[in-house]
Symmetry: C2
Subunit: 177 residues, 2 copies
């Protein structure tokens, strides 16, 4: 398939969501849906690694989760332009591309599970209050970060994301036994 | 302009974002950008009214803000499909339509200002702790609600939005002097 034939309005959004150039996008894929899933995978891997960078070396659970929160705010250099690939994909493609939507949903699930398992392991070691619902804590962290990123993007200022991070850091402090 | 000529890939997104039918969309507008701004205005007005429904009758500030938070979760019937028009617009159109982006930004600003002014008035009446930063409180409420709506949409379950509401309700409770 000629790349120029594929130049529909999906391309700019896909390029934005993935950070790939159009030439690179349309080379090795049988369908646009398949391509979008693969491009999302690529973009997500970069984001995911950045979000957990350095966190594994922090032994205390609350400190580790606070690092993950700060990473979301601070480690954006070199990431896909325009924010989180998950946020872009969730809104842009939720109705148009069922395989990509399934992929985004699965990715969100794996991000939540990773946070939840960090919290649960900490709870077992007595570093997190025993009454904390670790699944809900994970969901709240992700929701607050993604929402504040959206507000920051729209306002083109860092303050909403920064405020949300500080709020989560305080909230996580209150989780210590 | 013939409506069929306008049947580009923008239409489904615009229809989703606004809840309007295509026939209704392409009747009275000179440009697609202008149309999108007007459609967004329409969708936002419905959402905005629903979010503040009943809040004006609650005299206590914390109770009033809690009602606004619950409205975001509960008063979705009849609203535009797929969630918040602001969230859809912020992600879908941020690069493609500068007037719409400006409109969405202005709308976000007015939503934040309304929440901030409710909080500030309450602070003056001594119903909110004097150390609360009302602008940051407003931003945190909006960020948390929008992010959890995104997560709820992607997971197709209510729990993330419900959890976020409960978290905000608790947080607002802690704002009482």
């Amino acid at each position: 398939m000629d790349a120029s034939q594929e130049e529909t309005s999906t391309s700019p959004r896909l390029m934005r969501a993935t950070g790939l150039e159009k030439g690179g996008i349309y080379r090795h894929f049988d369908s646009k849906q398949e391509l979008a899933v693969d491009a999302f995978d690529h973009a997500w891997k970069i984001s995911f690694d950045a979000r957990f960078e350095g966190a594994g070396e922090i032994s205390n659970t609350v400190d580790c989760l606070k690092q993950v929160v700060r990473n979301f705010r601070d480690r954006r250099a070199g990431l896909v332009p325009g924010g989180c690939p998950l946020l872009n994909t969730a809104i842009d493609y939720d109705d148009n591309n069922p395989p990509l939507r399934a992929k985004a949903r699965q990715t969100l699930g794996s991000w939540l599970e990773r946070l939840q398992s960090i919290a649960e392991e900490g709870q077992q070691r007595g570093e997190l209050r025993s009454d904390v619902d670790c699944a809900k804590l994970a969901t709240l962290i992700v929701s607050t970060l993604e929402g504040s990123l959206m507000v920051s993007r729209l306002q083109r200022k860092e303050e909403p994301l920064d405020s949300a991070c500080r709020h989560l850091e305080e909230y996580l402090e209150s989780m210590r036994p």
